[in-house]
């Protein structure tokens, strides 16, 4: 089972969190389904606060694994992304922001299947990095190779699942991948690590429509206001303007 103690502090609120945010996070903290924080949090109790209950329920219903078949792979991904972008006193980390689902959705689409990538051989995967991506594997396959190897290294080095390790132990494994010290078939482990890092950051900061940046909390942390009509009257302002963010959905004028 997951050592929940290492997640202490995860329920601390960012200073400007609204009551609604608070209730949602309480929902996460109260989750307790087998599988630990990730599954407990993301599949746990729905928010029953009168305000926004419906939309939150819809959001929860829109989060399920569509690319990753094995729960174990997804769990490894979730904990790895949380180490890349951890929860701290500034606000939520990758898991609460929905990053694992963001990555899952990306991999289920054209990006994961490299539909806009030149995929004809001959391939020289060992030249990836020097020449960009040169693998025969598509990005989804790179993720599966990488995550399963992480699990294998975790068992070998620490005798336990990656998701159940202490944070420092997880970092140790991630650093080995980053430094390309782990051998993967068909792709360098550093290429996998960079994909993981890049997509984690994208999941924190891209529009919530893609499944991450839950409640625009990524944007709130960095004080990014989201898409707006324009800034013609503010562009020469001397002071930094911090505004509540607007989503793409709102910018486009809401639903049809």
């Amino acid at each position: 089972m997951v050592d929940k103690d290492k997640n202490k502090g995860h329920t601390e609120e960012p200073e400007n969190a609204s009551r609604r945010d608070f209730l949602k996070k309480s929902g996460y903290a109260a989750g307790g389904v087998a599988g630990g924080l990730v599954l407990g949090g993301l599949f746990g109790q729905f928010d029953t606060a009168e305000e926004g209950a419906n939309s939150d329920q819809v959001e929860q219903l829109q989060n399920a694994r569509t690319f990753f078949k094995r729960r174990e792979d997804f769990e490894t991904l979730a904990y790895a992304s949380e180490r890349i972008y951890p929860e701290d006193e500034n606000g939520p980390g990758a898991i609460k922001l929905g990053v694992p689902y963001f990555i899952d959705k990306q991999l289920a689409g054209y990006y994961g299947y490299n539909a806009k990538t030149y995929m004809k051989g001959p391939f020289q995967p060992q030249k990836s990095g020097e020449y960009g991506l040169q693998t025969k594997l598509n990005r989804g396959e790179v993720f599966l190779h990488g995550l399963r190897k992480m699990q294998e290294v975790s068992q070998k080095d620490f005798g336990s699942k990656f998701a159940e390790l202490e944070g420092e132990q997880q970092d140790e494994i991630l650093r080995k991948f980053e430094a390309n010290e782990i051998k993967l078939k068909g792709v360098q482990s550093s290429i996998f690590f960079e994909l993981l890092r890049q997509t984690t950051i994208e999941g924190v900061y891209s529009d919530p429509v893609y499944g991450g940046n839950k409640d625009m909390q990524g944007w709130k942390m960095i004080e990014y206001p989201g898409p707006r009509m324009g800034w013609a009257s503010e562009i020469d302002a001397e002071e930094f303007l911090s505004k509540e963010p607007m989503s793409l959905k709102e910018y486009q004028g809401g639903n049809l």
Partner: protein, 584 residues
């Protein structure tokens, strides 16, 4: 079997700035024109409400998908080139409008020196100043000759600018006043003034006010919304072919735009040395067509212009071993030896850097072209030093952090949150030269979806690129220090070209000049070998100038349009070769 279509006056291949301008000018002149565009038709509504950083900046939505074809790349002759597979490494324009839909809008004319780099270098420093491995050559046209075409392009595009104090005095004002001056721009201008340099506001394809161009097309004032470079404009406030020349062409019944038409060959009669038309595939049905024409205009990206000539067997392929041949020679571009400089981080100041526009910027040209004495410098040429406020959305902000920031984890999060919108970057738009060892040809190993060979780029830096890069970084550091940043960091210069084709500034291979021994087209961009074939675009640059290429491509397209009309009236070669004999 290809279906043969009715002959037209002019067939245009590729509809970006170059093809759009040719189309509009030929349509206005009453010619029967068919323009073939590989991508899809695009109009303003394709870009409305599309303010999505992930889709456009991270996934490169409007760049060419590489699933069918790309370019292979290597540094050394003799090495096996590998295909550049992803859009992170290869960003090419696509669809109607081409790369000019996603351009930033920075507008600089090239300098008189840039067009006569060889002659003027020899004149001032002697021939020894030119390294032996460098194919330095004049363009076969002067700034004075280019001036009216620049003027025409700037008015059509509605450029917003102010007189650069160091540039040749403009015959006409910029059509629109400059964009607004923001705090980062003012900081740059004050610092460079203090250092005795001559700052000015970058001229922009972003409109400073509502504008109607001479063709009657209207553009709106820029909203500084920040979704600009790599995006299509939400408001028709960034000048591009979709807002200007394409609708102008479409107003004429004698113009037809065919999209999803992938041109695979120029049809060539080698006996008469005439292009007879083009062969293309309708990408929606797979059907092949022959489009005969009196004049064939290749106005695609430099890569495609080169590749089509090679696949069609037109002109002699350049061979680096013998140094003979023309097509593919002098492949060059502002690769990753350029756009390096210094980053500054301000601990007590945050700028509204999430606001901006593609070409919102300030620059100095004290180190451009030959505006400074190169006698004691180990390079020739120059560039602008500029600061741009593109407008950075949330993902990008994570990558603008001091270099000691951990790449992930708690330390990364803390630093990236703290430094968001505190970092400014200034860079040097250094020129890039051509060398005998850098060229384009067809790849022996990789093919497109139809089985045709991909284009192969062989490119490595010369000493000029390394030395000019170092010079620029030092100058940028001095300016950033004067700007008062708490942390100033120099950009790391790459040791060698790293096969990242970002930014879109790749040129040459079908270069212009006044000598058929060293150029493929004359100064009307008409092929020396084939009178009715015009090859228009960045492919004509013998080497790079001091700045971004777009305005020069636009001006050359107007020059070519004039030439095509002239050819249709008079026939024959429009320019006289300087060399004794014309190349067979």
């Amino acid at each position: 079997m290809a279906t043969k279509l009715d002959k037209v006056d002019v067939v245009v291949v590729g509809v970006g700035w170059a093809g759009g301008i040719i189309s509009a000018e030929m349509a206005k002149a009453g010619k029967n024109v068919v323009a073939l565009e590989r991508g899809e038709h695009r109009e303003r509504s394709d870009y409305i409400g599309q303010k999505d950083e992930l889709k456009y900046d991270s996934r490169y939505e409007i760049m060419q998908p590489l699933s069918s074809d790309t370019v292979t790349s290597r540094n050394e002759i003799g090495e096996t080139a590998l295909p550049i597979r992803t859009r992170e490494q290869m960003q090419l324009g696509f669809d109607v409008g081409g790369a000019s839909v996603h351009w930033a809008g920075a507008t600089y004319r090239y300098w008189p020196y840039d067009f006569e780099m060889r002659s003027k270098t020899i004149e001032r420093y002697g021939e020894d100043k030119i390294p032996e491995d460098m194919n330095l050559q004049d363009w076969g046209i002067t700034y004075e000759e280019m001036e009216p075409y620049y003027d025409k392009w700037e008015k059509m595009a509605g450029i917003s600018g102010e007189q650069d104090p160091l540039a040749p005095k403009r015959k006409n004002e910029w059509p629109n006043p400059p964009l607004k001056e923001t705090p980062p721009l003012k900081l740059f201008k004050d610092a460079t003034s203090n250092l005795g340099l001559h700052p000015f506001q970058v001229a922009a394809g972003n409109m400073s006010q509502n504008y109607t161009n001479p063709d009657g097309q209207t553009l709106n004032a820029c909203m500084y919304c920040s979704f600009c470079t790599r995006h299509g404009c939400d408001f028709s406030a960034k000048s591009d072919p979709i807002a200007t020349v394409v609708p102008t062409a479409l107003e004429h019944d004698n113009f037809e735009l065919r999209t999803r038409a992938y041109v695979r060959r120029v049809l060539y009669d080698s006996g008469n040395k005439q292009a007879t038309g083009v062969m293309y595939v309708d990408e929606e049905t797979g059907e092949e067509f022959e489009q005969p024409a009196d004049v064939v205009v290749l106005s695609a990206f430099a890569f495609t212009n080169n590749r089509l000539l090679m696949l069609s067997g037109i002109g002699e392929q350049y061979d680096p071993e013998t140094r003979q041949g023309i097509i593919g020679r002098n492949f060059n571009g502002q690769y990753n030896s350029s756009f390096h400089g210094a980053r500054g981080f301000f601990k007590n100041k945050r700028f509204n850097l999430y606001m901006g526009a593609g070409a919102l910027g300030a620059a100095v040209n004290d180190y451009a072209a030959d505006n400074f004495d190169h006698s004691d410098l180990d390079f020739i040429g120059g560039g602008a030093i500029e600061l741009r406020q593109y407008g950075d959305a949330a993902i990008k902000s994570n990558y603008i952090v001091p270099s000691d920031t951990p790449r992930w984890g708690k330390g990364f999060k803390e630093n990236s949150l703290f430094y968001a919108y505190r970092g400014l970057h200034i860079w040097y738009t250094a020129t890039a030269m051509s060398y005998w060892h850098n060229y384009l040809d067809l790849d022996p190993n990789y093919t497109d979806e139809y089985g045709d060979p991909l284009l192969r780029a062989t490119y490595k830096f010369g000493e000029n690129e390394r030395n000019i890069g170092k010079f620029g970084v030092e100058k940028c550091r001095e300016i950033m220090e004067e700007m008062g940043a708490d942390i100033v960091e120099e950009d790391a210069l790459p040791e060698e070209f790293d096969h990242v084709y970002a930014g879109g500034h790749y040129t040459g291979g079908v270069v212009m000049g006044d000598d058929p021994e060293t150029s493929a087209v004359n100064n009307y961009l008409q092929m020396w070998d084939v009178d009715n074939l015009f090859v228009v675009g960045g492919s004509a640059f013998p080497q790079f100038g001091s700045h971004h290429p777009t305005p020069t491509i636009g001006a050359l397209a107007y020059r070519a349009a004039e030439g095509i009309e002239k050819y249709m009236n008079e026939g024959g070669q429009l320019a006289k070769a300087k060399a004794k004999s014309q190349k067979a």
